[in-house]
């Protein structure tokens, strides 16, 4: 059932529909197959470009951060190397105002420095700002940075972002560099530089991208956040970041995927901080809806285009086919002069040419068959005419009557028998072409009757080349010739009439000759124009017409004749010759 329905849909549909469907399937198939490839490829390209740009920004950011911190370090080293600083730290208070002036100059050149402070172990301090007093409620020696600086034994340490609570009434956000100072082996104090946190913050804020697609953050050496655009949300647990995973990153750029986030991390050798770039995988997975729409719209457009083009192509292809079909239909309806339009692609033009050839052949064949039919009808009619005429029958019957009156019974029997056979042969009908022997026998019956009537005055001879008996011959062609020879050549002659019938082979031809020793054929050249009854009249013409109709115009009768004068009685004057193709029965 299904099979049949399928057949109905695809089987006998228009060529145009088929071409259309094929091209639609092709385009749709291509679109469907290409979609995942294109999707994946575009996604990967997008991701790669995002990752690459993130890496570049990461390196830039790292450099900027390092620049600020390196400058802090430089300033610290410079201060530490000053003799006034050395003297102050060693316990001398005389150098204090000198040193403080010095610190002010350095801090003054750098807007990003909050302050520079030298903290002596005994609680004395020299600072770039003199309006500050130590926070009495806090002991800085309990602070984390102090512990770390002492542990580092003279190497600089960097804190992550923090609120500086060293001085009363001020709580700035800073990044602190601390460096323990020694006089020989003895710890004398701490050199402390506070860098304004906004400096670092502004570097990161500049790299911030909208809609959280990508952002950067900074993790301190203690694994805690130095900067993060959503620091408070992380502390509140509203947002989370894979800090444990990124804080172990090395100094080469590393890519870490945690959950739906892609982390690119790089550790700074100077500060031991890790700069992290975050790309939200979710924004990558959530492929831009416009892309999919654009793909779909483009797909639909190409489907439309393909069908339009295939429709036009199919139209171009089927228009000549349709016109050919119209021509065929006209031909079918009987317009034999239909000529198909062959202005089309060569395959279809060939088809049109073949069609035109076929119609002309059919036209010829029809004409031929009509002609052949006509010929057959004529031939039949002529054969009818070639039959024994009634006056011959009448004469024969008269002869039989008087023969029986004079008691010539044997002759009556002979004559009646011959007439009977003659008539039987004549009415037998059937084939147009019969064996030569049959035709000769028919003629013999005729001659038997005539020789009984004419007695000694008529002699005849029949010579047949052996082997020709079974050759086919058109029926009733010999008897009319003999009748002609008898009536026009011999009957009115006082001499004894002689008729010779000869049949011989001449190549492809069977030649039958009927000769007589009569007066000769007058005006032999124009015998065909004669009236019936005259010599050569209707009888010969009938025979010739039938042969020509049957075998073609080249098989005309030949008549040779000469004058009787000066010839012996037995010499023949006229020969009528039938040249007849050999027909094998």
């Amino acid at each position: 059932m299904l099979r049949r329905r399928k057949d109905r849909f695809f089987g006998r549909t228009l060529l145009r529909t088929n071409i259309l469907l094929v091209s639609l399937f092709l385009v749709l198939g291509l679109l469907i197959v290409m979609f995942p490839f294109t999707y994946q490829l575009t996604r990967r390209l997008l991701r790669d470009s995002q990752t690459n740009s993130a890496k570049q920004i990461l390196e830039q950011t790292n450099k900027s951060v390092e620049f600020y911190l390196a400058s802090m370090l430089e300033a610290a080293e410079y201060v530490a190397s000053k003799p006034s600083a050395q003297t102050f730290m060693a316990g001398g208070t005389a150098a204090r105002s000198d040193l403080e002036e010095h610190l002010q100059v350095i801090a003054g050149t750098r807007a990003d420095f909050f302050h520079l402070v030298l903290l002596r172990e005994d609680g004395q301090l020299a600072a770039s700002r003199t309006d500050l007093s130590l926070n009495p409620h806090r002991d800085y020696k309990e602070e984390d940075w102090y512990r770390r600086a002492v542990e580092a034994k003279g190497a600089a340490i960097f804190t992550s972002s923090r609120v500086e609570n060293l001085f009363l009434g001020e709580y700035p956000w800073v990044i602190t560099m601390a460096k323990a100072m020694y006089s020989g082996e003895r710890l004398t104090g701490i050199l402390l530089v506070d860098l304004k946190y906004e400096r670092i913050e502004s570097i990161f804020k500049a790299t911030r991208q909208d809609d959280n697609r990508a952002y950067f953050f900074l993790v301190g050496s203690d694994g805690r956040i130095v900067y993060h655009p959503q620091q408070q949300l992380i502390y509140s647990g509203i947002k989370s970041e894979a800090l444990d995973e990124v804080s172990v990153a090395g100094t080469d750029i590393e890519t870490i995927v945690v959950g739906d986030k892609l982390y690119i991390a790089e550790r700074s050798e100077l500060t031991d901080w890790v700069t992290v770039s975050v790309i939200n995988e979710a924004t990558l997975v959530a492929f831009p809806a416009e892309w999919i729409w654009a793909y779909a719209a483009l797909g639909l457009f190409f489907v439309g285009l393909a069908s339009l083009l295939s429709w036009l192509a199919a139209k171009r292809l089927t228009r000549p086919l349709f016109s050919l079909q119209q021509s065929m239909k006209r031909f079918e309806e009987g317009d034999l002069d239909t000529v198909a339009d062959t202005r089309a692609t060569s395959e279809i033009a060939d088809l049109g040419d073949s069609f035109n050839l076929m119609t002309s052949r059919i036209k010829d064949l029809i004409a031929e068959s009509v002609a052949a039919e006509e010929q057959k009808r004529q031939s039949e009619m002529l054969a009818l005419q070639a039959q024994i005429r009634p006056h011959f029958l009448y004469n024969t019957l008269e002869s039989i009557i008087w023969m029986s009156e004079i008691g010539e019974n044997e002759k009556v029997v002979e004559m009646t028998s011959a007439l009977s056979k003659l008539l039987r042969a004549q009415i037998a009908g059937g084939a147009e072409v019969i064996r030569l022997e049959e035709e000769i026998n028919y003629t013999r019956h005729y001659l038997t009757i005539q020789s009984l009537r004419y007695g000694d005055r008529l002699r005849y001879e029949v010579e047949i080349e052996p082997g020709l008996e079974d050759t086919g011959v058109l029926r009733l062609v010999l008897q009319p010739l003999v009748e002609n020879a008898l009536y026009h050549g011999t009957r009115h002659s006082r001499r004894n009439g002689l008729i010779r019938i000869a049949a011989k082979s001449d190549g492809d031809l069977l030649v039958i000759e009927v000769s007589d020793n009569g007066a000769g054929f007058k005006n032999a050249a124009n015998w065909r124009q004669r009236e019936p009854g005259e010599e050569g009249g209707i009888g010969l013409k009938n025979v010739e017409d039938r042969i020509v109709l049957f075998f073609g115009p080249e098989y005309k009768l030949e008549i040779e004749t000469r004058d009787r004068k000066g010839l012996a009685d037995d010499e023949m004057t006229t020969v009528i010759r039938i040249r007849h193709p050999k027909v094998t029965l």
Partner: protein
């Protein structure tokens, strides 16, 4: 018969063609539509707060939380407020101005829970959703707003109570100075405190200073003059400051436990010198962030709860420099640009 069959086939062909061309047109229309959609740009919301006074760190934090969320969700947040918190008429005018600008949504912190009901209804009638933050409107009318993002003040009061329970022995006398018992924050904080300490202490009747710092100061003085008061709980920034002022004024500071709300530099110093035992801090940045976050969710047709707690934290001297508290206490650099 064959003619009819053929015309049927041609009909089918035409049908397919028509369908395909229709699909093509639909495709182009969709494409054009989506690209025009894209050009429409980010959503715009207007936040109407209580004050633009930059000395109040709370509102600055709320604002930066909103701006942070705006950046994250690609929403244009227009933050505005009257100069003074008491300028209720000014806030109503601002609401009407905001409605006239036809933003995608309005965020409102009502400076008066009765008088701001009408503007909220006007916004609703104009088809603009209203999201309340920090302070809502009257309980019966707050259903006209989409949601309310604020500190859960009962919980915050509970945090203050827990600090008292830790620092003050049972059976002592405890006083409460409320900034305004008729505001939701004052009312809720007071009941949160009472829930936490009732049964442990002799709790005096709550003193309502009705928005006046002077009256709070007077009440603090009175309480300090009483020898039996072991602890004073103040329900907002200025009541706490008034109490700290009253203590500072004393020639010989009395040993009294003070637990406050919100923060200021005075309060930070008081925490450091232990005059202030603890303070309960609202997470203002979170409040701003969540208000915009919920607004975006509402605009994305997500269902919202009627209330979201933006959380609060109890700060004592020991934990004030811990990372997660530093940014709550010192949200901005005073030296900053």
């Amino acid at each position: 018969m064959t003619e009819r069959g053929k015309s049927k086939k041609i009909d089918r062909l035409r049908l397919i063609l028509a369908g395909v061309i229709l699909a093509m047109i639909v495709g182009i229309v969709i494409f054009a539509f989506t690209s025009s959609q894209r050009q429409k740009g980010p959503k715009k919301v207007i936040a109407v707060a209580k004050t633009t006074d930059t000395s109040v760190a709370f509102w600055l934090s709320v604002r930066s939380g909103m701006e942070e969320a705006g950046r994250e969700f690609s929403v244009d947040v227009d933050f505005r407020a009257p100069a003074s918190e008491s300028d209720i008429e000014g806030q109503i005018r601002m609401m009407d101005q905001a409605i006239a600008e036809k933003p995608d949504a309005i965020l409102l912190s009502a400076s008066d829970q009765h008088l701001l009901v009408a503007p909220v209804l006007r916004a609703r009638d104009a088809g603009i959703p209203v999201i309340m933050f920090d302070s809502s409107i009257e309980a019966q009318t707050d259903k006209f707003a989409e949601t309310f993002v604020a500190t859960d003040n009962v919980r915050a009061g509970g945090l203050a109570a827990s600090a008292i329970l830790e620092a003050v022995p049972d059976g002592s006398t405890v006083a409460i100075i409320a900034h305004n018992i008729n505001t939701t924050s004052g009312h809720d904080r007071e009941s949160g405190i009472r829930n936490g300490i009732d049964g442990h202490y002799e709790v005096l009747d709550t003193y309502d200073c009705e928005g006046s710092k002077e009256r709070a100061f007077e009440e603090a003085r009175r309480l300090l003059a009483r020898d039996d008061v072991a602890a004073i709980i103040c329900t907002n920034e200025y009541t706490t400051s008034a109490t700290l002022d009253a203590i500072a004024e004393q020639a010989e500071p009395r040993d009294v436990v003070v637990v406050g709300f919100d923060n200021s530099y005075q309060m930070m110093n008081a925490l450091e010198d232990r005059t202030l035992t603890a303070t309960v801090i609202q997470k203002a940045f979170n409040m701003g962030y969540l208000a915009v976050d919920k607004t975006v969710r509402h605009l994305n047709k997500e269902a919202l709860e009627p209330f979201y707690d933006s959380d609060s934290a109890l700060i004592t001297r020991d934990v004030m420099y811990e990372k997660e508290n530093e940014q709550l206490l010192f949200p901005f650099n005073p030296q900053g640009d």
